[in-house]
Amino acid sequence: MSNKLFDDFIREKIGNHVATVPVGMWDKIVQEKGKDKKAIYWWQPIAIVAVVGCMTIYFGWFDPFGTYKSAEKPATQSLANKIDPTVEISSGTTPGNFTSPVNSKTEKASTVNVEKPKENALQNVSPAITYNDNREAEQRTNAAIIAEGINTVKAGKAHKNIKQLFGSNIKQRLGMNNKPTKEQAQVDSDIIPAATRPYYDRYSLISLKEKATVQNAAVNVSLSNLKSNLFSSVDCPSDRRSGNHGLYFELYASPDVAFKQMEYKKVRNGINSKDSTSTKQLSYSLGFRLTKEIGQNLLFKTGLNYSQINERFDYRNENERTVSTVITIRTITNSNGTTTTIRDTSLVEQIGYRVKTTYNRYRSWDVPVLLGYEVSGEGWKANINGGAIFNLSSTQQGEFLDTSYRPASFSKSGPAIFKKKVGVGLYAGLSLIKEISNSTSFFAEPYLRYSLSDRTTNASPFTQRFYTAGILLGIRFKLNGSGAAK
């Protein structure tokens, strides 16, 4: 036998030899691997949900325009350069803010920032309208009136924004259409400390405007417009919690069906049809959401979602060879009575095909950020929800057909053919909510989710992305307020 034949023989015999791996070997590797591993990622979704939750609560429960506190805190700044020409500032208030004494029974007063005029000349003009010092109002110059007009128009614009934010029926909800009585005004001044009392109240303003009208009749400024603008600028709720801004916790699970878009980069023909099939299987999602009412019918939703897409991959391996050892035992007894046992050992090779089945798993952790519009009936609600889904982490395991028509495996620790973070996806859903008790509701939400980017990396021989349809089934709990769950 030549050296080449000998080498070939040895290579054939032991080249693909498989040894038995001792039990616990993988555990050892995992243990060693864990030592090198950096900080694990379990805290990341919790941190993001906490941050989003805090922001939701902050924007939901507190005045996002943030001047409530400053109204309570006496300002020590000089008023000389920061004075708002629109209205006179009483001592102890922060310039640039309107404060409205809207409810005689509440200590809180909402304030709205108004853009300060840029013109220096106008800034230096001493504002005229004040409830503290009527003499200044009488000495107001025409320029001051014009400046006032300009700024009240701006204030009017700000009011429009606020109206959009809080709804058009805000006056009714807060009872601001009712003209307050003198007793109510007295209660206001009793409840609100002098240092935090608003710059003006509507009663004194009315009289001041009437005065101004008489004294400056020659000035071509429509005081009626001015009046309406000034009045409208203070139409904002004193406490948003007095509105119907509920906070809900939603817990859900969903059976999903995922549709795969897959395209090989270099192979033109359908490689997937070559001796292999991938079949979609029932997938699922589960998670929780915090839902916050941010307007009369508007909802903001965020939370944490886990989804798993299941897929079955079958590969038919042709020319599969199986070698069996057959031992034939024969017993021969000769004429002397001696029995001889003969063992014949032979190898039988069978050639056929084998179907290999692998279950692929695509797992994702996501944070949905959704806006919803809610309509309601008696005992039921319906939401239309839409928004973005931000992927925190994605892992995959399973097999795919590579460009050489062979199944290749992938796993979360495998070759980098899939991204660890998929990116942003779009979400749309229609939620039907049925009230089952005062604070609990059941909801069903058919939804569609689409990933904007591929799950695969540039190194991957193919591109792949999913779009998923499902129906979220869950329970909604009302977290604040005593009213019925919505």
Partner: protein, 159 residues
């Protein structure tokens, strides 16, 4: 899944380069740690199994390099029967061959494995083991002769 698929084959590779099973397991463990660490560097430009195998072999060589291997020539096995018939191999099992290879001196065993089983050229082996290519060639010839002699002896005993 990756481990399950390749661990058996790779342990067999390790066993060919080490003296004991425990040593082979240590090499395998270290090799898989490297595989998981550098798996993102695999560019799909060849067989994935080949890439893994190369890492395992390199890890085994690194492990061996800690010991000083003597690549000196041995003359004890020069008198080898030149004619060994093909039928003599027919009944040889994998385990027997592996056992025979493991009995080779370290230097012979290394070169034989790298050239015959893994398919490296003598120049590559020379670079990997820091020896001359000619040394690799002579070591291979000797290893082959020793193995053939051993196989012949087994056949004689069997007959």
């Amino acid at each position: 899944m990756l481990f399950e698929q390749y661990a058996g084959k790779m342990l067999a590779v390790c066993l060919r380069y080490t003296k004991t099973k425990m040593e082979a397991e240590d090499v395998l463990q270290e090799a898989f740690l490297r595989i998981f660490k550098y798996i993102h560097q695999f560019k799909f430009e060849g067989s994935f199994e080949g890439w893994i195998r190369r890492i395992v072999v390199n890890t085994a060589l690194k492990n061996i390099s800690k010991k000083k291997i003597n690549f000196s020539e041995m003359t004890d096995y020069n008198q080898v029967s030149a004619t060994i018939e093909p039928y003599a191999y027919s009944n040889l099992g994998e385990d027997v061959i592996l056992k025979l290879i493991s009995q080779l001196p370290d230097g012979y065993r290394l070169v034989f494995n790298l050239h015959v089983v893994e398919g490296f050229s003598h120049e590559e082996i020379g670079t990997m083991l820091s020896i001359q290519a000619s040394t690799s060639r002579s070591q291979l010839v000797k290893a082959r002769k020793i193995l053939q002699n051993k196989i012949l002896n087994i056949q004689k005993i069997a007959v």
